[in-house]
Symmetry: C2
Subunit: 206 residues, 2 copies
DNA sequence: TTGCTTACTGCACGAGCGTTCAGTTATGCT
DNA sequence: AGCATAACTGAACGCTCGTGCAGTAAGCAA
């Protein structure tokens, strides 16, 4: 019989997930044992198997739900394709930076632990990842077609921009010199320049 | 007594290193066992301890010599600081892309396996890494001071550019649509735009 | 041939791994 | 109060891990 939400079992399920995310982000999937995760949660190792069939599924579920959440969060605030490419790019970059800053651990894991996925699981995560990359690719293509972005190679620019944007999660630390919104603003400028948009960012003394 | 170079022991030492690099790049440090490395080399696990005091040192030596090689390779072809910032940046980017394409495994390891280093070893690798980032930071600062680069934040631009450039190692595959030199050329254009250089890349129909 | 050194094997050690499961306790419904 | 079920323990399974070490085979100088 299904339990009411808010029951102790459900809370533990969430605790397991979060302990796993924290530990894997810190030490890496292969270096973290089920016993370590259990200790963090405050249970014995065997109890974890009430919430996951095995260690591999634990990783897969973290990565899969991260990617799905990323995609559906974007769907929620994606602008229509009738909007100007510059504005669409700005929206995408702001979304990406904020999301990646607020969920650093998940993001870190989901591109560090790809090689610890079983082949089948890897294929599925790659599919979702490509879907997300295509969001940016489509915006850049649209801008190029409309002549407002000027790039030598759209595919390379897409990969370069994704790497640049995602990189924020490797150096951002809470309480640093810049807040999330400052950083997002900087990345928006940089992305527009990278895309070859005709947007002078600053008044430049010639 | 020291052995002559080219002896069988030295060959094995190199084979151990290369097997370790290949396997760690593929599966991750924690997921690779000494027995796997030994099998790849064609010896028993115990024999590895003739070439490394322990597993941790094996990782550290790979990362340290990679960083030192990266830095000294750059020193060999670094332009003087009297050269124009645009030309210095071009030189740096071309070097970086070529280097990262030709040594994908080492590069991949050296930013994926940082968290598997012991604290002392981590500090040392971070020091070398920062030295390399400072190379780019100095070029960008110089360009900003001379007014040929226009950036909102030099530090953020440095981190963004490094992430963008290093990202090439995650998607480049031998025999793809573009060769290393094509890719380097694209990254040079993108870097100049990112730095806000006044260099129109293409003739643009307005 | 003898003797020294290098390169390596083969086995062992204790520890920890992922996972299973019979048994125990806690919880909430009737 | 009684009972079903959920939540969890604690011990065990077979296995692999990093590492140490006595012993051995091969190469070479004298």
């Amino acid at each position: 019989m299904a339990r009411k939400s808010g029951s102790s079992g459900e809370k533990t399920a969430i605790a397991v997930r979060e302990a796993a995310i924290r530990l894997i982000a810190q030490h890496g999937f292969a270096a973290v044992s089920m016993r370590q995760i259990a200790r963090e949660v405050g249970v014995q190792a065997g109890a974890l198997y009430l919430y996951t069939p095995d260690k591999q599924s634990l990783l897969f579920d973290i990565l899969k739900s991260h990617m799905e959440d990323l995609l559906s969060s974007w769907q929620d605030e994606a602008p229509g394709s009738d909007m100007a490419p510059e504005a669409r790019l700005e929206r995408f970059v702001r979304f990406h930076i904020r999301y990646h800053i607020s969920r650093q651990d998940r993001v870190f894991i989901s591109y560090m632990e790809l090689r610890n996925l079983s082949p089948d699981n890897f294929v599925e995560i790659e599919r979702l990842r490509r879907l997300y990359e295509d969001v940016l690719g489509e915006i850049l293509s649209d801008g190029a077609a409309k002549g407002v972005f000027v790039m030598e190679d759209i595919r390379v620019t897409t990969m370069a921009m994704i790497a640049m944007l995602t990189g924020v999660s490797t150096w951002f630390r809470e309480g640093g010199r810049l807040g999330p919104d400052d950083i997002a603003a900087h990345y928006i400028s940089m992305s527009l320049r990278l895309a070859g948009a005709h947007v002078p960012m600053l008044a430049v003394a010639e």
